[in-house]
């Protein structure tokens, strides 16, 4: 909310400086977002009188002025304005002054060879308006030499953020009351005039919706003149508040709202027919509102209507049809109390914001209807003339005050600061609370935010000063801090740093995807799709980390990155139990383009392939503590992957710990990425917790006494036999002696029969207490060959 210092001083008697007021506003909870002080901009400009004006010797359009600045010798100033003439008074900018409109610093200079010691200014140059036809002409009585800031009495403007719990401060008066309590001066409440209305209000007023509009007061003023603009002092206040003057009548209601936080409305009586009633709208009823838009209403909304139709979306916005115009002569003033909740619901449904809604929705002062009406009547009669009638009242506002039993010791218990009881009483009283001798605190009905004792603590502490709250250390557990990380946290931390150590860059990508991208990775029925996305590209919650990383990789490729290695640790979102979400912690990796660049040693660049994905998957699973030696490589990585170059890693047939491989060309096409692209997803919630106790000691170290020996076997196997099946068979041939088996060569082609491949396996035999004899080695070899034979393998001769 914006307001001028001048306006504030209507309600606050204070000598405090601008800076002191700003500091106090911040201190008591009204955050100052800005102060605009026109005097700052007008420093160096003063009232001056043109003594003589003569033509410039070398320029047709310029004049050479002799200007009286109020002290010393007159100054010579060159001026191009056509209205500059001897005897006039205007505004002179002296050397050193900065022209507000363009930031130019004035200097003593020579213009076409004639010395100039300043500049006579236009309205636009001083940012006081748009006129630029000539220089400012001040009245005859303007005192020469006075600073123009003082002369124009330009008042500084505060821009203050009012928190939504304080609608009572959405008017200058409320802010003044708070400041006074905060020690900044004396509060001067508005003086409410007594209006002697003549005769009863001729328009019948009624509320048929006491729930939505508990009270509706009004009166008619006959014979107003709305053809002239509102007086300068009203316009000045409105402009400072950032409001555009509209017409005298509308300006009066806006003035009341900004001064006292009290919205009101003015109807043109000539446009009304029959009683004016607060009622529920009928479903489908429409209104053309003052913002020139038409709104369709429903029966939850409270409106003000007459026999002909709706004239006002109660408490939110008036209708165009019955609004005040230049020709308006008789007006009906409306001051009503609307139910805050209903205003909020209606406003949201209609998507309609207004200053009135902001105030009604948060709660206006229910005791201020008569006063508000009297003030508005007085403003209009002063401004537009006319004769007011008596007030018509329908319904009653909820004026019953809340009483809070308060324990002043709570201030110290909750607020952490000792405030003497007398001081607490003073603060609350200044804020218009009534404090009984037994600390029963009666709250002013305008303070809708007070719900209980904690709110009173806040009042006391904020006025007393939060800066007086001393820091008090939290009690600390004895000894060294205990570990606090959860198992998942530890897992994520380990994986993150393992992935980064493997050369992958961590990315954080959006949790939402274009729906098509999400559907490429999951069944649409499983997806969470937003009702109100910020754009269609951010609509469906991701069922996989790959699409986001793929999009990032594509952006990198577009930037010219030859190869991209990205990973992300985050959640995938699925449907859970009872309509809740099932969010699965996941690690995703995407490798795109060049694995190694071309080089002097290795020649051509190499591209990522499915085995790079496998290497990442296994390394990360190992870092996660998964039993990687027991994992099975199985199919079904998903449709998004290349069917022949992808796999899952499972612990047991069902528990999928990860999937990896090359992406399907169709996926690449859908995401418009050039391949090959390989990817990994590690499903963190599937990784079993590490077995074993919580101890730190490792099993006893028992290195074998004897050296292991290796034997190589080359087998001819069916071309489609998985290498892992052969290796598993070989390893299982003698579980005691064989400690490892590893494929070191695979070959098909010349010398190998059609439909077969040659697979060479290195087997490591570990002797126990004594070395193997030749016979024992022979026996083990035979077992290996026999086991391999069961997989269709024959030893190559």
């Amino acid at each position: 909310m914006k307001f001028s210092l001048e306006w504030l001083k209507h309600f606050l008697d204070t000598d405090a400086s601008l800076a002191e007021i700003a500091a106090a506003l911040n201190r008591i909870g009204h955050e100052v977002e800005g102060i605009e002080d026109p005097a700052d901009k007008l420093a160096g400009f003063r009232v001056a009188k043109v003594l003589t004006a003569e033509k410039h010797p070398d320029a047709d359009k310029l004049q050479v002025l002799s200007v009286d600045t109020g002290d010393g010798e007159p100054l010579q100033v060159v001026c191009g304005a056509p209205n500059a003439r001897s005897g006039m008074k205007g505004v002179l900018g002296l050397p050193g002054a900065v022209v507000p409109a363009n930031g130019m610093e004035l200097r003593k200079s020579a213009i076409r060879g004639v010395e100039s010691n300043g500049m006579m200014c236009s309205v636009r140059e001083l940012e006081l308006g748009d006129e630029h036809d000539g220089i400012i002409e001040l009245p005859e009585d303007a005192p020469v030499g006075e600073s123009f800031a003082d002369y124009s009495d330009a008042s500084p403007v505060f821009d203050v953020a009012i928190t939504p719990n304080r609608p009572d401060c959405m008017g200058v008066m409320g802010i003044a009351r708070d400041l006074a309590a905060g020690g900044l001066g004396t509060f001067k409440p508005v003086e409410v005039p007594t209006i002697d209305g003549e005769g009863p209000c001729p328009v019948e007023i009624r509320t048929d919706d006491p729930e939505g509009c508990p009270a509706f007061y009004g009166r008619v003023i006959r014979g107003v003149d709305n053809t002239k603009p509102s007086p300068e002092w009203i316009q000045r206040g409105l402009k400072a508040a950032g409001q555009r003057p509209i017409s005298a009548l509308v300006d009066c209601t806006n003035y009341l709202m900004l001064a006292c936080g009290r919205p009101a409305h003015v109807y043109d009586v000539a446009k009304l027919s029959g009683p004016v009633v607060a009622r529920r709208a009928q479903d489908g009823e429409t209104i053309g509102a003052l913002n020139e838009k038409t709104y369709t209403l429903d029966d939850t909304m409270t409106v003000i209507a007459d026999d002909a139709g709706v004239h006002d979306i109660g408490g939110i916005m008036g209708g165009e049809h019955s609004g005040a115009t230049e020709g308006t002569t008789d007006v009906l003033l409306e001051i009503a109390y609307f139910d805050p909740e209903r205003i909020g619901v209606t406003g949201r449904k209609l998507g309609l914001a207004s200053d009135a809604r902001t105030r009604f929705e948060r709660g206006v002062d229910p005791t201020f209807l008569d006063d508000g009406l009297a003030l508005l009547t007085d403003l209009i009669v002063q401004t537009c003339g006319g004769a007011p009638t008596e007030v018509a009242r329908a319904g009653k506002p909820p004026v019953e005050p809340m009483v809070v039993p308060f324990d002043p010791a709570l201030t110290s218990r909750l607020g952490g600061v000792d405030v003497a009881e007398d001081e607490q009483r003073r603060i609350l009283t200044e804020l218009d609370f009534k404090v009984g001798p037994d600390w029963q605190v009666t709250c002013p009905p305008r303070r809708h935010d007070i719900e209980g004792p904690a709110d009173l603590v806040e009042e006391v502490v904020r006025i007393h000063g939060l800066d007086k709250v001393a820091s008090v250390a939290l009690p600390r557990a004895d000894g060294v801090a205990q570990p606090t990380a959860s198992p998942l946290q530890k897992l994520e931390r380990k994986l993150r740093r393992a992935a980064a150590a493997r050369g992958l860059n961590e990315a954080v990508t959006w949790s939402f995807l274009p729906t098509a991208d999400a559907e490429h990775f999951a069944d649409g029925a499983q997806l969470w799709v937003l009702d109100n996305p910020i754009s269609e590209d951010m609509k469906a919650m991701r069922p996989s980390l790959i699409p986001g990383l793929l999009a990032a990789a594509k952006r990198n490729a577009d930037r010219g990155a030859p190869g991209t290695r990205l990973f992300e640790i985050g959640r995938r979102y699925f449907r859970g139990k009872n309509g809740s979400s099932d969010e699965k912690p996941t690690l995703g990796v995407v490798l795109v383009g060049e694995k190694t660049p071309r080089g002097w040693a290795q020649g051509k660049a190499s591209q990522f392939d499915a085995f790079d994905a496998k290497a990442e998957a296994l390394a990360l699973l190992e870092a996660a503590g998964a039993p990687v030696d027991n994992l099975m490589v199985m199919s079904e990585a998903g449709d998004q992957f290349h069917p022949g170059q992808s796999a899952t890693l499972r612990l047991g047939p069902k528990n999928v710990l990860a999937r990896f491989g090359a992406l399907h060309p169709k996926t690449l096409k859908a995401f418009d990425v050039d391949g090959p692209v390989v990817a990994v997803e590690v499903f963190l919630d599937s990784i079993p917790a590490k077995k074993g106790g919580s101890g730190f000691a490792r099993p006893t170290y028992t290195p074998p006494a004897l050296q292991a020996i290796t034997r190589d076997f080359a087998f001819l196997v069916p071309a489609d036999l998985a290498a892992a099946d052969l290796v598993r068979a070989v390893r299982g041939a003698d579980k005691q002696a064989i400690v490892s088996a590893r494929v070191f060569d695979v070959f098909a082609g010349q010398g190998v029969p059609e439909g077969k491949k040659s697979v060479a396996v290195e087997v490591v035999l570990q002797p126990g207490e004594k070395s193997f004899t030749d016979e024992e080695i022979k026996a083990i070899s035979d077992k290996v060959i026999a086991a391999a034979a069961k997989q269709g393998a024959e030893l190559r001769g």
């Binding site: 904690a454 939060l466 993150r496």
Partner: protein, 366 residues
């Protein structure tokens, strides 16, 4: 015995003249092999009289020894020369590049979250998490924002069309505060948690992204008041920025879930055009920046979460993690956080070995 002397001279000269290992070996066979000339002389000793043998033997043996020594010396000399020649042929241009290994990085948000966890662990806070797809009860109602509360509208909420089986509207959490409710409901009081994570608001401009990160803090215990809140935030910020001159300014504010509510500003100074935290915001060349919202937990919130507000009190705060990262590490564009640009990762990312620890200081220096 000029014969022997001649033999010696000839043999040594020929050995000396030898150019390669094979020729040397041939000489060794010629002189010292089974049929060799010197071996032949040795054999003559057997036929001599003891007197002759006594005078001849040392001479022949001396010859044999000298020739053997000369061959050994020559062999070593040849091998040395051969090694030198080989090494001379094995020169590499080591100005050529070594094989490159890719360098990975940790995202600043992760790094800062690790830093937060480290600092707050020392203060006895555990880390709690909750769902990002929330219901409106946990996100709003239980935080004292009823259906019609104006503050709900200020949250720019992303909604799903779905309701859960309790009829609650599903949405993307707008803050990490629902984790307060869930943690209190699960663990009761006393409790000290931080809850970092992704949050969502329907807002997108130069300084706002529809997804960002927050860290919630919650302390509930007996006898907790605003002074504890102030100390905790001061202590945390001093540890996080590793500066003792962090000055906080508390301003009264409003959040439905706290009462009293406090907005916390932190003093900064202009250092070469950059805002650097530290110092009194009112000092010349300094200013205040709004850093976080906090307050004493509203008793209604405690009631919703099943904690007795007449026994326990406490405070909570919410803080932007991305913002903290920017202030500490100097990024100026929030949107770049979510782009996955490898150049940005290389510039602002952290080494995997920058694991924050209290003993080394949680921050990773530039």
């Amino acid at each position: 015995m000029t014969d022997l002397a001649n033999m010696r001279d000839t043999a040594l000269a020929r050995i000396d003249d030898t150019g390669d290992a094979a020729a040397l070996e041939a000489l060794r066979v010629e002189f010292l092999g089974k049929q060799g000339s010197i071996s032949g002389l040795m054999k003559t000793l057997g036929k001599m009289t003891p007197e002759e043998r006594q005078t001849e033997a040392p001479k022949i043996q001396s010859l044999r020894g000298d020739v053997a020594d000369a061959i050994a010396a020559k062999k070593e000399q040849l091998e040395e020369a051969e090694l030198e020649a080989r090494l001379a042929s094995e020169v590499l241009d080591l100005t050529l590049p070594a094989p490159a290994t890719p360098k990975g990085s940790v995202h600043p948000v992760s790094q800062v979250m690790d830093e937060l966890a480290e600092i707050f662990a020392d203060l006895g806070f555990t880390v709690a998490t909750g769902p990002e797809i929330e219901d409106d009860w946990h996100n709003f109602t239980a935080l004292n924002m009823a259906e019609t509360h104006p503050a709900r509208a200020m949250h720019d909420t992303f909604y799903f069309p779905d309701v859960d089986t309790d009829g609650r509207r599903m949405l993307l959490r707008t803050h990490t505060s629902p984790v307060q409710i869930r943690s209190m409901a699960e663990q009761g009081a006393p409790i000290r948690i931080i809850a970092p994570g992704r949050v969502y608001r329907s807002d997108s401009d130069a300084t706002h992204t529809p997804m960002f990160h927050q860290v919630e803090g919650l302390v509930i215990d007996k006898g907790i008041h605003l002074g504890h809140l102030k100390w905790t935030l001061e202590t945390f910020l001093k540890a996080f920025f590793e500066r003792d001159d962090i000055v906080l300014r508390l301003r009264p504010s409003y959040f439905p879930f706290t009462e009293p509510s406090v907005e916390v500003d932190v003093g900064w100074q202009d250092v070469n055009g950059r805002r650097v935290l530290g110092g009194d915001g009112d000092a010349p060349g300094h200013g205040w920046m709004e850093l976080l919202g906090s307050g004493m937990v509203n008793r209604r919130v405690l009631e919703f979460a099943g904690v007795d507000p007449d026994v326990y009190s406490g405070f909570a705060w919410g803080l932007g993690v991305d913002r903290l990262a920017m202030l500490k590490y100097g990024m100026d564009d929030l949107r770049a956080f979510f782009d996955g640009d490898y150049r940005w990762a290389e510039h602002y990312g952290f080494s995997p070995f920058d694991q924050p620890t209290l003993s080394a200081g949680v921050g990773a220096r530039a």
